[in-house]
Amino acid sequence: MSPRLRIVPFLALAAACGSGAGHGGGDDVGEDRDAGVEDGGGGDDATVVDAAPGDGGTLAESALCGGHHWTSPLPVTGTALMAFRGKAYLFSSQGQVWTVIEGGAANAGPIPFPAGVTSMQAIGAELGLDGLPLVTFRSNGDNAHQFATRWDGTQFSPAIETNNSARLHADAAGRIYGIGAGGLFEYPPGAAPIARGTPPRTPNAWTVSADGTIHVLFVTTESTSSGTAFRLEHIRLPHGSLSWSSSAVIAMNVGQGFSGLVFAGAPDGSLHVAWERGGYLRSRDGETWETSRFTEFAALATLIDPATANDPSFDPRRLVGTPELIAAQDYDHAAITTIVQYGSTAPSSTYFARRCPPFVGPNQMQWPAERFAYSYSFMISAVDERGLAAVMTPNGVRQDVIDP
């Protein structure tokens, strides 16, 4: 068997807001609401969502911007991380064991496989919008088949086979969607898969929103006198429909493009997009998008793993890098993980940026961030339903925990 590299773009690191302080107003608990219902507030209040309707999920209050600290690194290694209810699960490459990390302690043990499964490799894990982790895997070295299962904190659900090589997401009702071989498939819980055809445009990134609407982002280009103009376009397919919307341009630039595009929904129905060079968009409904940035490249990241650089242009406090994961608890609470590899010129880094006011930087746009040491790994981070993250560093796994 040969484990496959899978980098799951959703990394949630819960870290200190800036230097560990809570953000203004961020610890307020908002109204209780069902998943998929918009957060009507325009501020930065934390929200409470029903993360898992009918499936035992918990009410998740975002802790992204509250007081917190990072645990010391635990010297454990693996190829994939999953975060759920304050625990981090580190899968081994062999597909037989994992290490469960909680409160600064690590316990290795056998993976409690779904029924009929004897190994889980090539793990991909992200939090579904129903509040439960969605795990994709291959088994027994068989790269021709991919499976999915859900973790409820105690056990995995029976595995289902999905279309091969598909990236999967789950909506607030627990419906799983995959775009891969054969196009878009929907896997309703306990029902036969639905082949929903292929998106009219090849996705550069895609996700599902809480109500089951499929959202596809693609990049188009046009030559202009100023250089190549890049357009980030959005189309969507409502749940139960086979009518794709017309495309809407949601961002443009000249010369830079949209590399490192990451895209995620939140349980409140909001959508979040990020790309290299600090680009960030959010939308409550997929129609109206707010454009901002998550970095001004200001040297403000907190050094969780200390680092120095002789060349100031590679100051490790500067928040840079390619987005690897975006995770959002609601419209106002999102976190972006980036990685940057410098080789010998500067220490490579992982950054965890959280959308927690007050923002900083010359234009007061940059998100507070923390910096970690980075070395090539499979899936370096994961974020749980409250925004608490785990990150794998060369020294081991750190967890973000709420301050007492």
């Binding site: 878009l184 082949a195 055809g197 292929t198 009219p200 397919l237 086979l242 009518s243 919307s245 017309s246």
Partner: protein, 431 residues
């Protein structure tokens, strides 16, 4: 009635080389005209242009090949006199489509520049004013759906439009969400039983809803065969080279929110014959039939300079689940020493009745560094029952003048064949 017209053969120099003659099904695009699928019988140079030498026109010294009915299983074809046309088939590009609209026994040739069309049936023709919507069109293609309805799509300076043709009149044009010009497969159209249109723009399907179109995305498989039946069900078939499932069949029922896979043809089902095909197994073209059956043909192609593969397969299925694999007869024997160059069009009315047109010639002759290519011909071949045994019989042949000239073959829904070459328009009616 059988009429013949004399032709002058053309010899060209070239080589059976690297150039394919229209692409295998797997890399062709959506293209099927209801119960028939058409291809470019002989795009420029056909298979010429390979490594063996330069293709070139030479003098007309080949033997004439008349359009002639050569017998069928229990019937004979009626090959009409060739009608001269004021258009040049060479102008339609390598994968273009001729401006033909076939309905029953009648073929219409659309002359967009003059705003007229020629109506031809059983060897007689007249040219009159075309519907005003077609005036000024610079390309035109029409396809018949499984529902039996003919829909046309054309482009003029205002955009790309489509309309249903009822055999006499063209319906109200509607602008379609497809801006690509020729070749036809980038902008294909089918009419459902109720007359509403489906558009295939590349691999994206659009369904007419009122006066607009909704984007339905693409089928789960790259659709090489696409059609719409009387119930409004969209059918798509295609495969992936190298995959175990070499051809999958999917359908989208009217109003459904998802596609259903009805079945697939696998390598295992094809079995040993696939291994025997010189140059390997490769599906060339196919079509759905109104009874729901699926019909596929493997290709004829160059397997080396001056060499053609001999074994071709015809594969059919009633339901997409169970498949029957048949070997086409040795074309060298069936076609009096000819080798085959490509399949130009296919047609099936039901599981048991299928026809195809291939292009053939006597083998090319090496002349030093060059290759001499003999005149080609179109052969209409029918699958039929002969003495209670399945058989393939050539029921008509016509000359395809010149090696570098283009020729097109198109089937109407009733199986009537129209051949468009630089010589003109020839209609073939077979029982």
């Amino acid at each position: 009635m059988m009429r013949t017209t004399m032709f002058v053969a053309v010899v060209a120099l070239g080589a059976c080389g690297a150039r394919d003659d229209g692409g295998a099904l797997t890399d062709a695009a959506i293209g099927s005209d209801g119960n028939g699928s058409d291809g470019d019988a002989s795009h420029g140079g056909g298979d010429a242009g390979g490594s063996g030498g330069d293709a070139m026109q030479v003098d007309d010294r080949g033997d004439p090949i008349d359009p002639v009915a050569v017998g069928a299983c229990g019937g004979s074809a009626d090959v009409e006199a060739t009608l001269p046309l004021p258009i040049d088939p060479n102008s339609y590009g390598s994968y273009g489509d001729p401006p033909l609209m076939l309905s029953g026994d009648t073929t219409r040739v659309i002359y967009g520049a003059s705003g007229t069309w020629m109506t031809a049936a059983h060897g007689s023709a007249s040219t009159v004013a075309a519907p005003s919507a077609l005036a000024g069109s610079d390309w035109f293609v029409a396809k018949r759906s499984l529902a039996g309805r003919v829909a046309a799509v054309w482009q003029n300076t205002d955009g790309v439009f489509a309309a249903v043709f009822d055999g006499t009149q063209l319906g109200t044009p509607i602008e379609i969400p497809c801006t690509a010009a020729q070749p036809y497969y980038t902008c294909d159209v089918r009419a459902a039983g109720d007359g509403h249109l489906w558009i295939a723009a590349g691999q994206t399907l659009y369904e007419q809803v009122g006066t607009t179109f909704e984007n339905r995305g693409g089928p789960p498989i790259g659709a090489e065969v696409f059609d719409v039946d009387a119930a409004g069900t969209v059918w798509a078939g295609g495969g992936t080279l190298g995959a175990e499932e070499v051809f999958q069949v999917w359908k989208l029922a009217a109003g459904a929110g998802g596609w259903t896979k009805t079945g697939s043809l696998t390598k295992t089902m094809v079995g040993a014959p696939a291994q025997e095909i010189e140059g390997g197994f490769q599906i060339k073209t196919g079509t759905f039939a109104p009874d729901g059956s699926v019909h596929l043909w493997t290709d004829a192609r160059c397997i080396g300079t001056g060499e053609r593969n001999k074994l071709q397969l015809y594969i059919r299925s009633r339901d997409g689940v169970t498949w029957s694999v048949e070997r086409l007869p040795d074309m060298t024997a069936l076609l009096e020493g000819h080798v085959t160059w490509s399949i130009a069009a296919v047609w099936a009315s039901d599981y048991d009745n299928a026809r195809f047109v291939n292009m053939s010639s006597t083998p090319p002759i090496q002349d030093g560094l060059d290759w001499i290519y003999p005149p080609r011909q179109h052969n209409l071949i029918a699958r039929c029952t002969d003495q209670n045994q399945p058989a393939f019989r050539r029921i008509a042949k016509t000359r395809l003048p010149g090696w570098t000239n283009r020729g097109y073959a198109r089937f109407a829904g009733n199986g009537a064949l129209t051949l468009l070459t630089t010589e003109g328009l020839t209609q073939v009616y077979a029982p």
